[in-house]
Symmetry: C2
Subunit: 218 residues, 2 copies
Amino acid sequence: MNENKAAKRSRQPDSPPAEANARTRIFLAAEALVAERGFDAVSSRDITARAGVNLGAINYHYRSKHELLLEIFRTRAGELNRERQAMLRAALAQKPVSARTILRALIEPPTLWSSDERRTALTYLNRARREGPSEVREIIRADVRHLRRFATALESALPEVSREEILWRLHFTLGVLHHNSAADYERLALLSDGQCAPDDREALLARLLAFITAGFGV
Amino acid sequence: MNENKAAKRSRQPDSPPAEANARTRIFLAAEALVAERGFDAVSSRDITARAGVNLGAINYHYRSKHELLLEIFRTRAGELNRERQAMLRAALAQKPVSARTILRALIEPPTLWSSDERRTALTYLNRARREGPSEVREIIRADVRHLRRFATALESALPEVSREEILWRLHFTLGVLHHNSAADYERLALLSDGQCAPDDREALLARLLAFITAGFGV
DNA sequence: ACTCGTATCAAACACTTGTTTGAGATTTAT
DNA sequence: ATAAATCTCAAACAAGTGTTTGATACGAGT
């Protein structure tokens, strides 16, 4: 059997889709296609065609299509969480801790991922959370550990609010943050006759922060 | 060909999954299965098995699986929108119009759909909006007309806020409202160690209203 | 030069998908 | 009761799925 001989190979497939090895070309092609069309609308043949590799390459380099999609999720979720954690640590360093700064650590990284590659990475993450295979849920449990840190941070910044209340507001906040797929913005554009453009990320960040901090009573 | 001989038949498949005609049994089985497992994880064979009918029944009573899923969406979205519009009319009747009452008209109907049948109907709607086939988007355009009424209502209740700002906040609000799939609540339960239970719909409604009205500065 | 691990390829695999078919049963109306 | 519409059924269909196979090419390393 071909085993996982190639499992422990190149690390982060950062950018170049042009001429990289087949493994990262598959990674990037799959990520882009899923971001565009959705999880269940992408076949192995689509991916390999876009990557310019043979059909069997997915099963050779990754063990299966399933594991490929999981690895994409793990990689991107890790990148996002690391950025958030760094900002959270910085927020907790200054005393007194500000709820606004904590919320910014949660909101800013995904909102300011505005380059093409990072936008597709974000779209992939959102799609995976919603449509992804059940194994993604396992990883989201790891996400819970990550989110719990935000909950306790907010708890110390807002001692007058109960933990249950904070968790609910965090839940609502995640609803807002996840609501930024292409379809979501399509509806907003229709609703506003193109008046509301999501391309100005800084303005969007300001709006998001204002809406959510208000919800937290800050 | 069998044409659409049975296309203009029984109207609303309200509740009884027990012993109704095959058409409504298919409707309810498909709705429940999609709500449970997601759009692309439900096959024609799953549906007909659950409904206790023959495999070909879907293509006989509805023209295709596709149209079946569309009809479910149309039916439920219509029910929800009618309730919202009724509350919106009532909110606009009293002067001066209160932004809080308008927002309640948007939030309360889906939140208080707490019977089993209506919960699955809601879950179906949310799933359709996210994972659904592209034709669902067409119907969501009709939804836009529906939402625009809320936007202009809020505009008259909050004359000091620009239309663009109102549309953005409405966009955020829909993010919160759509964030109530089973998976979403699963994460909340994990995060809170089961402390946050989404079963108390009245309490949830109060929390939602507080969070969102705060976001609107009301 | 010759092997060995790695990589790529076309072809086929077993399986599931939604849909169609044609015959039989059931109901309804005249 | 007779005929006509309506419905149900098992079986098969073509198309698409992810994966496996075995052959072949490449590229070092001793």
